[in-house]
Amino acid sequence: MEQDISNWKNLWEEKKSSPLDVRTLINRLTSVEKKNKKERIFLGISFPITVLILLLFLPISQSYYYLTAIICIGLGMLLILWQLYKSKLKPNTHEGDLSNQNYIAATIKSLKKKKLITSKYMWMYTFLLLLGLNTGYIELLQQLTIPMRILIHVLLTLSILIFMYVGIKKRMLKNKKEIEPLIDELEELTL
């Protein structure tokens, strides 16, 4: 057996790397790195800018309804943006510190968190969005009759609920097809 191993080692080591243009690779890596940095900065400033625009355009000082609406929608956006940042844009710079078993465990944890964005956080966002919009509409529709106001509130709530339900369902199906089998396969590797 030891002779076999020694023979395999010799054969193994005879294989040399195929040539690769490292200079081009570095140039591309640098450009992707810059792009990712820009995306992170954009995400970091887009939220405060959106809140600022809303504050400027809505007469919040005149109405607590508008203020509540902005707070609810802002919280919802913050919740989703934070989850997206954690799952997609946050650079993972500790892969070299993790053994295979720890890496698999960390990947499974991160995939499960990704699933939570759809199953939990998107619904929380929907709730905050509906709460915010309906609160804002209370002030906005004050001039209309009560039945008309109720109708608009119901239509607004239903259309957003249907839109979000379809989107979330679609995403959950995609997760079921892609993320769940991956989690199962990775879990098998830890056995």
Binding site: N92, N100, I104
Partner: protein, 165 residues
């Protein structure tokens, strides 16, 4: 060339053969090995600033390489589209089986046979053939040393049987 670029080039030059062999042993063919190698190099680049020197650079690279390989096989075909593939220079490399010498055929057979093992077994075998000790393999994989020993013995027998069949 800045410091990071210089360091990356140095790390690449020192480890390119090891990385490529692990990739080839994991995938079993040059095309996928090149894809996997590119993915590993991207991760090395992204992680390079966080290397603290607490472990040997080779252990650190093996961890990145093997961690990437584990996910590569699961995510094959879903590679980050914002990073285009670099085409390796394969001019002059014999690709037809009949053009290969018997030694080259033996090498190819070894790599393709290793690639037919289970994922963790491919990694363990690759690390062993790269002259890593059981302790180093244990540090890279996170398996206990005794488990590494038991599994390697089992893989050796399996590989021997496959190569001689």
């Amino acid at each position: 060339m800045n410091n990071k670029e210089h360091y990356f080039t140095q790390v690449y030059e020192q480890n390119k053969d090891k990385i490529y062999r692990l990739c080839l042993g994991f995938t079993g063919n040059a095309c996928d090995a090149n894809d996997l190698r590119q993915e590993i190099l991207i991760k090395i680049w992204n992680n390079l600033n966080s290397f603290k020197g607490e472990s040997q650079i080779s252990t650190w690279i093996y961890r990145i390489a093997t961690n990437t390989a584990i996910l590569y096989s699961k995510r094959k075909g879903k590679f980050d589209t914002k990073f285009p593939r670099l085409k390796p220079n394969i001019e002059g490399v014999a690709t037809q089986e009949e053009d290969l010498s018997s030694r080259e055929k033996e090498i190819n057979q070894l790599y393709t046979t290793i690639a037919s093992l289970k994922e963790m077994d491919r990694i363990l075998m690759g690390l062993l053939l790269e002259e890593n000790s059981y302790k180093e393999i244990s540090d890279i994989t996170g398996l206990s040393m005794s488990n590494v020993g038991v599994r390697i013995n089992r893989i050796k027998k399996k590989l021997n049987k496959k190569l001689n069949s």
